[in-house]
């Protein structure tokens, strides 16, 4: 794979490490807060504050992407990441618009929580896999 994870540059290695760490923190945060809310049923300001906590992890992920784009010396790799982000934003927003439209006419129930998050990062990973396939190099040319 030629995306961020294959033939990684120094910046790419740091990106994967940072994103892995922030991703784990995000999962842990969501798990802990979900359990807390189920057990203690907080309301009002406390509920709002708890709900806001995972958002900081999401912002941290975007910061990690920004740091990678700043540090990556290979402009083609930067270009590929930006293209994958644009595809992911487009796909996520399009899917959300589609779902919102169906929901507003009550054709479907609300989508599962955190769906946008998963759709965004999975679609970004998918685009990166396609990019990697398209820019694969063979042999020792």
């Amino acid at each position: 794979m030629d995306g961020i994870c294959s033939h990684p540059t120094k910046a790419a290695r740091r990106y994967v490490q940072r994103m892995g760490a922030v991703g784990l923190v995000y999962l842990a945060t969501v798990w802990v807060i979900t359990r807390y809310i189920h057990q203690h049923h907080p309301t009002g300001t406390k509920l709002f504050a708890l709900a806001a906590v995972p958002a900081f992890d999401v912002i941290a992920m975007i910061v990690v992407v920004g740091i990678y784009l700043r540090d990556e010396v290979d402009e083609f790799k930067r270009h590929q990441l930006i293209v994958s982000i644009l595809w992911a934003i487009g796909f996520t927003l399009a899917l959300m618009a589609f779902m919102d439209f169906l929901q507003s006419y009550k054709s479907i129930t609300a989508p599962p929580p955190f769906m946008e998050f998963c759709v965004f990062w999975l679609s970004m990973a998918l685009v990166q896999a396609i990019q990697a396939f398209r820019s694969r190099v063979r042999g020792n040319e």
Partner: protein
């Protein structure tokens, strides 16, 4: 933008990996430029020209 990177590299007997190392980019970047899937920025184009010791217009040319 067309380029003669592949021919020039072959003339010198350089591999993509060698050129990539000289340019401090990935081999995928060199491959993408050679196959026309990616047009390098002006600074990278100048670095390429410097490594080949050629004027930039002898490596890259407008498609028109």
């Amino acid at each position: 933008m067309n380029n003669h990177l592949k021919e020039l590299r072959a003339l010198r007997g350089w591999s993509q990996a060698f050129l990539a190392e000289q340019l401090d980019v990935s081999r995928q970047s060199v491959n993408a430029i050679e196959t026309g899937r990616y047009d390098p920025s002006l600074p990278l184009a100048f670095r390429i020209a410097k490594i080949f010791a050629l004027p930039i217009e002898q490596i890259f040319e407008d498609e028109a």
